[in-house]
Symmetry: C2
Subunit: 216 residues, 2 copies
């Protein structure tokens, strides 16, 4: 059964692949699972039919037969558990890869989101500039620790896993800030993720949505 995911009808990042559907697309490409995409507008995301799928009115969602899922982490874990290619076979190694999924989403991403959304939510406030070093510092503290742990390894724990997939997409949210570039091993890690054929297919697919919309 072909799953259906949701994505922004009009990508706020102009096809840079930073929206969360990119994460699910990449996971589906890694395991070779074809999928359908249903596009939703910002208005539709806050209306009852979409809220029935996603109580917090976000994308992506995932529908497959009787199953409807929300939360990118849960969707990717579901895909990873049901296919080969995103989690190791060994039970302990699988549990550790799952820890990296949570680390990417719960420990590394929150200060990155906070730094990013302050521009939209508080960019016009008098304290905006004064708070920047504090927000940057919180991001760097996590990247210091992540960089120390990665060292000169290719991936966070053995083979490429769903944990790496999420960590790479989380770090990509810092594009343009120059912060990841302060850590050569993290820059190389992100580039290694982006060089994967499955990443490229997923990226091209989401870019095509933006290109088609902007040529209409």
């Amino acid at each position: 059964m072909t799953p259906t995911i949701t994505a922004f009808e009009s990508s706020p990042d102009r096809g840079r692949g930073l929206a969360r559907d990119m994460r699910v697309r990449w996971a589906l490409e890694e395991v070779g699972q074809p999928y359908e995409v249903r596009f939703v507008s910002f208005r539709e995301m806050k209306e009852p039919p979409h809220l029935a799928l996603h109580p917090f009115g976000q994308i992506p969602t995932y529908e497959e037969g009787d199953l409807a899922l929300f939360e990118t982490g849960a969707i990717i874990l579901h895909i990873a558990q049901r296919h080969t290619g995103l989690l190791p076979q060994d039970a302990n190694a699988r549990a550790r890869a799952t820890a990296w999924i949570f680390a990417a989403l719960n420990t590394v991403e929150p200060p990155i989101v906070e730094r990013e959304q302050t521009r939209y939510a508080e960019g016009d406030k008098p304290w905006h500039e004064a708070r920047r070093p504090l927000l940057d510092g919180r991001v760097r503290r996590r990247l210091d620790q992540l960089s120390s742990r990665l060292g000169d390894a290719d991936w966070l724990d053995g083979e490429f896993s769903a944990g790496d997939l999420l960590m790479v997409t989380v770090l990509r949210r810092l594009e343009g800030s120059g912060i990841v570039e302060e850590y050569p091993n993290l820059s190389a890690y992100v580039a290694r993720g982006q060089a994967r054929p499955a990443y490229k297919r997923a990226f091209d697919a989401q870019l095509a949505v933006f290109t088609a919309a902007s040529s209409r």
Copy 2:
């Protein structure tokens, strides 16, 4: 094999059970798994032996034979997958319960943490008071959505699950703010979680650590 978790040697919340070891204790109590606790000081948490277990220098960690795990969400999912009592049997219902684990940690908790830590990190800044309505508003937006979804159900999706366990502990972080009390169904939901015998055993165990330390 009895697992060992880590917890703060000296609880910053004075035994109120808001530290993340409480979440893992509760999960272990729900499934009836005995456990050991190793206490770490704030200094030890940032030193190499603990960083080898937890790359971001936090608690809790989880050790069981050859397995060492970090990230509360991953630890609880590991416990839930290996025992009965924290996830439904049906595969689709299990995936949905997992979505609530991620929703608690990734969607509901981040604005709550942000609201909380701004007091410590920015309590002395001139903008602190002016930002409070904005931070409270972000928390209320998520609680509006959560309250709508919960409705008059006892738990988020059928029987009590690891998703409820995490959501209850996340909402407890708002204690004293008066915000949860604005949502009678969420207040009742938190109380329902706290009334579970496994919750009480976990709470008493972490409180005993504080009581013993303060009587020394």
